[in-house]
């Protein structure tokens, strides 16, 4: 198999683009896809300060790498969840990347350690309040990333969600007709109110396999093992189904997710109404001041329940 662009030996075939690339041309392809995503969804400009949510996994480290190489001002935040046998290794990967590639681009890594700030690791916290670990984890990560972005005055927060993540989430939402979640599936969510950072997903045009290939080719040392809590998740099942489809008919995932985005863009009012809806119902949490629709935000409620459970 030869590179479609320069005809030297290819290192990866991309059936959905009916193409194959050598390392140099593949890197160009990846950078180009990210640049297109940033432009098409008006994610940020060259002067904006970006905070990348990094986990030590391939997607977030590849995202940080690409943004730095494209010349953007991007720092990162790592949230240490305190999961034994996983968090220590993933943290090491994030720190090593920051010390090498990050430092070379004058970028910094912020860290938040759940064990220190919340008094227990994520599994213990979830147990205390009788909630599934992943749902407690989601609340904490969302909260801490938003807090860091707002406190340190970043213009926008970027996550490593890729085409597979978004297509799988869309499949899940459509299977259960959770229409209220569809509004939030845009790769660029505006800072709807004061106190909520703008959120973007610059990797939505790249598949998980393409991002892993980018990481391998560019010697990005990422954690290959999964978070132990992800085992048996619905997302994995949806991804598996979609990848079977993709293998049989290349391009299935992108036509599913991008097709949805096209329809959503034509129905324009959706995002405008969402911002209005958000603005109408959000106000500062009475405990911490971050925006919420309730009296007390879900993070503060969770922490209050956890400390009550601990002391009883």
């Amino acid at each position: 198999m030869n590179c479609k662009k320069c005809h030297t030996k290819a290192v990866i075939g991309l059936p959905r683009h009916n193409a194959a690339f050598c390392k140099v041309c593949f890197n160009e392809f990846v950078h180009d896809q990210v640049a297109r995503a940033i432009k098409a969804e008006r994610m940020f400009g060259p002067q904006d300060r970006i905070l990348v949510a990094v986990s030590g996994g391939k997607d977030s480290l590849a995202l940080w790498d690409v943004l730095l190489k494209l010349g953007y001002k991007a720092d990162a935040l790592y949230v240490d969840l305190g999961i034994s046998g996983y968090s220590a290794t993933s943290r090491e990967k994030a720190v090593r990347f920051a010390d090498t590639v990050g430092a070379a681009h004058k970028a910094t890594l912020l860290t938040h350690t759940v064990q220190e700030a919340e008094g227990a690791g994520i599994r213990e916290l979830a147990d205390l309040i009788h909630r599934p670990t992943c749902s407690a984890c989601g609340t904490i990560k969302r909260y801490q990333f938003n807090r860091a972005a707002v406190e340190h005055h970043y213009d926008v927060m970027a996550t490593g969600h890729n085409l597979d993540d978004e297509a799988a989430r869309l499949l899940g939402n459509v299977l259960h007709w959770q229409e209220e979640y569809l509004d939030k599936q845009s790769p660029s969510l505006p800072a709807s109110v004061e106190g909520f950072a703008k959120k973007v997903k610059p990797l939505y045009r790249l598949s998980e396999r393409e991002i892993a290939a980018y990481a391998v080719l560019n010697r990005i040392d990422y954690i290959v093992e999964e978070c132990p809590m992800a085992k048996g998740s619905k997302m994995l099942l949806y991804k598996e189904v979609l990848n079977r489809l993709e293998t049989e008919s290349p391009g299935a995932k992108q036509s599913f997710y991008w097709g949805f985005l096209d329809k959503q863009a034509k129905a324009q009012p959706a995002s405008a109404s969402m911002t209005e809806k958000d603005q109408a119902s959000l106000h500062p949490c009475s405990t911490c001041g971050q925006p919420t629709t309730a009296e007390i935000c879900s993070y503060c409620k969770m922490m209050a329940r956890a400390s009550a459970a601990k002391s009883s």
Partner: protein
Amino acid sequence: MGRKSLSIAQSLLPLAQRSAYDRFMQVQLSHPERLVEVKGPKRVKELLRDLNLVAEAHLVIRRDELVTEDELLRDEDMVEVRPVISGG
């Protein structure tokens, strides 16, 4: 039985049942992490099919280098089949 007709299951014989000078391709798999031996030569595409793995969810790496589906793998090769899908 001729070598060529070995199925994947048959080619994963415990070392003891093979003669000392047989040398098979070493394939590292994940979830759970394990090492299997596969008789070459074999194209990447065939290796994935024999292992019942979906191409879209894996990368095949030979000695630190990515290889495309049409690449021929040989008995002396060290190969890693790396899953790329995460569930978080």
